[in-house]
């Protein structure tokens, strides 16, 4: 045997022809030409070049012939072939051998003598259409291959009402489709594609036998002038949307009309009209896909929708091509062909029934989805899938999977990377959006564009505002686009999704934490295939929710960990409490002690660095020094704006600097609230301080001034007033410290400890501040109460001043008298008169003067008392009518012995009324 030399293919072909036919070269010219033609026209194989599949097929073939030993032998030989490695195109040889394989049990299908003439011509067209098989192959219908049913290979399956057709069981890895032309998704098609391609060779190898046809029944009315065949041809064109000879598109009425001039019998006309509907549906869908596939602004979801529609149309086209091929076969075979194989309108009706149903669904879907984009489109498709028809549902499910795939991609990217993908890197003009803070959604027209991104193209429901800086990232940068949320994602899930992405961005940009999302989410997966997308969205309660929940928990936990460990959020919260809300009592007291001489001066003479120095001293001397330096360095003094006539007390304030991620929780508004509350608390504390001084003074001087009995009335009045004020201030302090601050703080602390994400913390903190402000009378509703309180404070200061002057003059007088007595005694010791008459007279005069001033002081004090009590009564009345319960309880406490009620008639009915009402409620 010669080695495989390189002869030209033509020569080889000629040799082959000679060998097989057993003739000399001259005689085989005809066959040789034919061979060349076939080989030349069919150059690229349509089957898969998979050696493994071919060998499997061969084994199956052998097994089918019940030759198991031979199958094992073949495997052995195949293995040997593979190890030798001489051949380059093993699969091709094997395929060739397989296709030439003949079952020894089969009856010989050598062609009978008569009709070999047209055979050569006939074989060519059949082999030429090597189009990949639509899995429901009408070609496999026993139109011209009636003897196939006799072969052992086939098992025809009854289909839905179309019992005359049999579907070949695909002798390959693909599953057998249950019914002929119904349409599940292309997954089944894909699998059966592979199988069908391989199996295709087997049926084709058996020869077409026109002679074995059954006798032809008369088909169709033969009396019409326009033959059914011509109509069929027309219809096939109409199916594709092209006007046929007789059936044309009538645009005003948007339907296909048969030319009325054409002589057609009624039944044919009706049938043609019914068939033409398919063309109309096709046109509709085609128009939609054509117009939108070019529209770049349509977005990814729309484009995947168009792609899904296109795929369906392709399947439809395949069916049409097969029908065309059948028509062509008939043409080529001329009149000889048996009638069973011809295409009639009735046959078309039956075969196109299922495609028509599918196209109807698709056309309805197209109508419904007109003008929608992005998430709305997905919602529309989803809404359409709520139907009872299982085939329609499957179709819609498939389309939904494809359509929601980009959304899912975005979702995953957002959840795991925190990025909004911008695939369109065109430079679009940037527009600034007019977005007021606190508005959660933007209409799609108002979305601001990032330079280089057109966000309206993104089918995602999270939008980012590029004009926002990092300090407001958490609050303002990301928002939900409600219109874009698909209907199968609930609002709660959408919010969680927003939160997750926001957290990741926050971590990256504000906390400067660059851990890759893989660490945060150990179970994160990359994007799934469209099939997974559809499955995910069908199982919304299950898989999708769990995915989002998992991502949400992990990310939020990580964020909170970072905030607490690296940025000590909770410590700062506590520090705020201690310093700005006067929690650290010893420090505040000491600070006040140190500041008292400074702040008594006019505000314009104060210097910040002096005060800061005093602050430092206070810190070092008290327990505050044990706080972490991180906190202490943020503590500072702030001087408020100076109005004329202010003392230092009016402009002093503490301050706490926040920056970075903590500023997200302690925003500027929060800080201003804190300062207001500090102001209020500081004032109240100061009142307490003043009263303590007053009391001290009173205690000290009481003994001293015992010797001046004329002052006792005045002093008594002072004492009474002072104790009233003390009581008042004590009750206020109690209220503020315990009912307002401690309770709210406790609530806040609990919530913060249990918080699952940053939003919770921010919300809890805001609630805390709001409660404090409303209870400290600082909000708008309680302005009048606050004014009253301020008035009370002013009175206290007045009283302090009055008392100071009183004591000063009293003490001065005392001093003078003591001096006088001293002098008298000394003189007497020296043997002189104690006092001269004029001295005594002078002394008496002075004492008299002094005694005259006492009534003035008395009246002054009385006035003060009166004022004070009036203000307190007004305060009490306002408290009664306030809506906050704790304030009402405060009024209880302030007037526990109904001292004021006795004085003020106005208080009585309201007290009685409210108390009566309250007791009935309790």
């Amino acid at each position: 045997m010669a080695a495989l030399d390189q002869k030209s293919p033509n020569v080889l072909l000629q040799n082959l022809c000679c060998k097989i036919t057993g003739k000399s070269e001259a005689d085989v010219a005809h066959q040789f030409q034919y061979a060349v033609r076939v080989i030349g026209s069919n150059y690229a194989p349509t089957i898969e070049r998979d050696e493994f599949l071919v060998s499997e097929k061969i084994k199956k073939e052998l097994l089918k012939q019940r030759r198991e030993a031979d199958a094992a032998l073949f495997s052995e030989l195949h293995r040997k072939l593979q190890t030798q490695g001489v051949l380059k195109h093993r699969w091709s040889i094997l395929y060739l051998l397989l296709s030439l394989c003949e079952d020894p049990r089969k009856p010989s299908n050598r062609v009978p003598v008569c009709s070999y003439g047209p055979l050569l011509a006939q074989a060519l067209p059949r082999d030429v259409h090597s189009t990949p098989f639509y899995y429901a192959r009408p070609q496999s219908l026993p139109l011209s291959y009636p003897e196939r049913s006799a072969t052992a290979h086939n098992s025809s399956m009854a289909t839905s009402g179309i019992s005359s057709m049999g579907v070949f069981s695909i002798n390959g890895p693909g599953p057998t489709p249950p019914s002929l032309l119904t349409g599940p998704g292309p997954q089944a098609v894909g699998e059966s594609m592979r199988g069908s391609r391989l199996a295709w060779t087997l049926p084709v190898s058996s020869s077409p036998s026109g002679a074995a046809a059954a006798p032809r029944p008369p088909s169709g009315p033969s009396s019409t002038e326009i033959g059914e065949a011509a109509l069929v041809r027309d219809i096939l064109y109409v199916f594709q949307g092209i006007d046929g000879k007789f059936i044309k598109m009538c645009s005003p009425e948007n339907c296909y009309k048969i030319d009325s001039k054409v002589p057609l019998c009624k039944s044919l006309r009706d049938t043609s009209s019914r068939l033409a509907e398919l063309g109309w549906l096709h046109n509709k869908i085609r128009k939609y896909t054509d117009s939108h596939s070019l529209d770049r602004a349509f977005g990814l979801v729309g484009q995947s929708f168009c792609a899904a529609l296109h795929q369906e149309l392709k399947e439809y086209y395949r069916l049409l091509s097969v029908l065309h091929a059948q028509l062509q076969v008939e043409d080529d075979q001329g009149v000889n062909v048996s009638v069973d194989s011809s295409l009639t309108l009735r046959r078309l009706l039956v075969w196109t029934y299922d495609p028509k149903v599918r196209l109807k669904t698709l056309a309805a879907l197209v109508d419904y989805c007109q003008g929608r984009k992005g998430g709305e489109l997905a919602s529309a498709v989803h809404a359409y899938g709520k139907t009872g028809d299982p085939h329609m549902r499957a179709l819609i499910q498939h389309i939904l999977g494809l359509v929601s795939h980009p959304i899912l991609n975005f979702l995953y990217r957002w959840i795991y990377d925190g990025e909004l993908e911008d695939t369109y890197h065109e430079s679009m003009p940037t527009q600034l959006s007019l977005k007021s803070s606190g508005v959660e959604e933007l209409s799609p027209n108002q979305i601001p564009l990032r330079a280089g991104t057109n966000q309206t193209l993104l089918p995602f429901f999270v939008a980012s505002d590029p004009t926002v800086k990092t300090d407001r990232l958490w609050h303002d940068k990301y928002s939900l686009r409600k219109s874009m949320i698909p209907s199968f994602i609930t609002m709660d899930q959408a919010r969680k999704v927003l939160l997750i992405g926001k957290s990741i961005n926050f971590l990256h940009q504000v906390c400067h934490d660059r851990t890759p999302p893989g660490k945060i989410m150990p179970a994160s997966k990359s994007t799934d295939s469209p099939k997974d997308a559809a499955e995910l969205f069908t199982d919304l309660e299950g898989a999708f929710q769990s995915k989002i929940d998992a991502a949400y928990f992990e990310t939020s936990k990580y964020l909170l960990d970072v905030l607490n460990k690296n940025y000590q959020l909770l410590e700062h919260l506590q520090a705020m409490r201690r310093y700005l809300l006067l929690g650290q009592g010893d420090f505040i007291r000491h600070l006040m002690d140190l500041l008292k001489p400074e702040l008594a001066r006019a505000a314009t003479t104060l210097y910040q660095h002096n005060l800061t120095g005093i602050l430092e001293t206070a810190v070092r001397a008290t327990n505050a020094q044990f706080d972490s330096p991180e906190i202490l360095k943020r503590l500072d003094v702030r001087l408020l704006e100076v109005s004329p006539g202010d003392t230092g007390w009016d402009v002093f304030s503490l301050d706490y600097h926040v920056e970075g991620p903590i500023a997200t929780v302690f925003t500027r508004e929060c800080m201003s609230h804190y300062l207001r509350v500090f102001n209020f608390l500081w004032r109240a504390k100061r009142m307490e301080y003043i009263l303590t001084d007053i009391w001290k003074g009173q205690m000290c001087n009481a003994k001293l001034l015992k010797s001046m009995p004329e002052l006792s009335g005045v002093l008594h009045q002072c004492h009474v007033l002072a104790s009233e004020m003390v009581h008042f201030i004590h009750q206020m302090q109690y209220y503020i410290t315990f009912e307002v601050l401690e309770c709210s703080w406790d609530e806040l602390w609990n919530k913060v400890q249990q918080a699952q994400d940053l939003d919770h913390i921010i919300a809890a903190h805001d609630v805390f501040l709001d409660t404090i402000i409303s209870r400290c009378l600082l909000d708008v509703n309680n302005r009048s109460l606050l004014n009253q309180l301020r008035a009370v404070f002013d009175q206290i200061i007045e009283f302090q001043n009055a008392q100071d002057t009183l004591y000063r003059s009293a003490l001065e007088e005392l001093q003078l008298r003591i001096q006088f007595e001293d002098k008298k005694r000394r003189r007497e010791e020296m043997g002189e008169w104690g006092v001269t008459a004029e001295q005594e007279a002078e002394e008496n005069r002075r004492v008299q003067e002094f005694k005259d001033t006492i009534p003035k002081m008395c009246s002054q004090l009385r006035l003060l008392t009166h004022f004070y009590q009036g203000i307190v009564q007004e305060f009490l009345r306002l408290l009664m009518t306030s809506s906050d319960e704790s304030l009402q309880f405060l009024s209880f406490r302030l007037d526990f012995n109904e001292h004021y009620k006795a004085r003020d008639p106005r208080l009585r009915p309201s007290l009685g009324a409210t108390r009566g009402r309250r007791s009935s409620n309790i």
């Binding site: 097989i20 194989p45 195109h89 394989c101 062609v111 090597s130």
Partner: protein
């Protein structure tokens, strides 16, 4: 001692043997020479589908021709037989008469 050319030839021969065996298993009806031509064509990249259809066609054609031939041959042989039979007694008789 096997030179590379010899080794190559051996490998080729073995391959062809294996292929012939497979072809016999599958009952393709190809003999060694046709098989080798086919192998060469496939190695040069010819589409095996087309090739198989050509081979089938050629077989059909040759069968039909053989049938015709057969018919023709049978016709001729029948005629010849008749002739012989018709002339045979003539010869035999003549001999017998001698």
């Amino acid at each position: 001692m096997a030179s590379p050319a010899n080794a190559n030839m051996n490998a080729v021969r073995e391959t062809m043997d294996v292929l012939l065996e497979i072809s016999r298993l599958l009952n393709t009806g190809l003999d060694m020479e046709s098989l080798s031509i086919c192998v060469r064509l496939c190695e040069q990249g010819i589409n095996p589908e087309a090739l198989s259809s050509v081979i089938k066609e050629l077989r059909r054609a040759s069968d039909s021709l053989k049938v015709v031939d057969l018919w023709w041959h049978s016709l001729i042989s029948a005629t010849l037989h008749l002739l012989v039979l018709s002339t045979l007694p003539y010869f035999g008789l003549m001999q017998d008469h001698k």
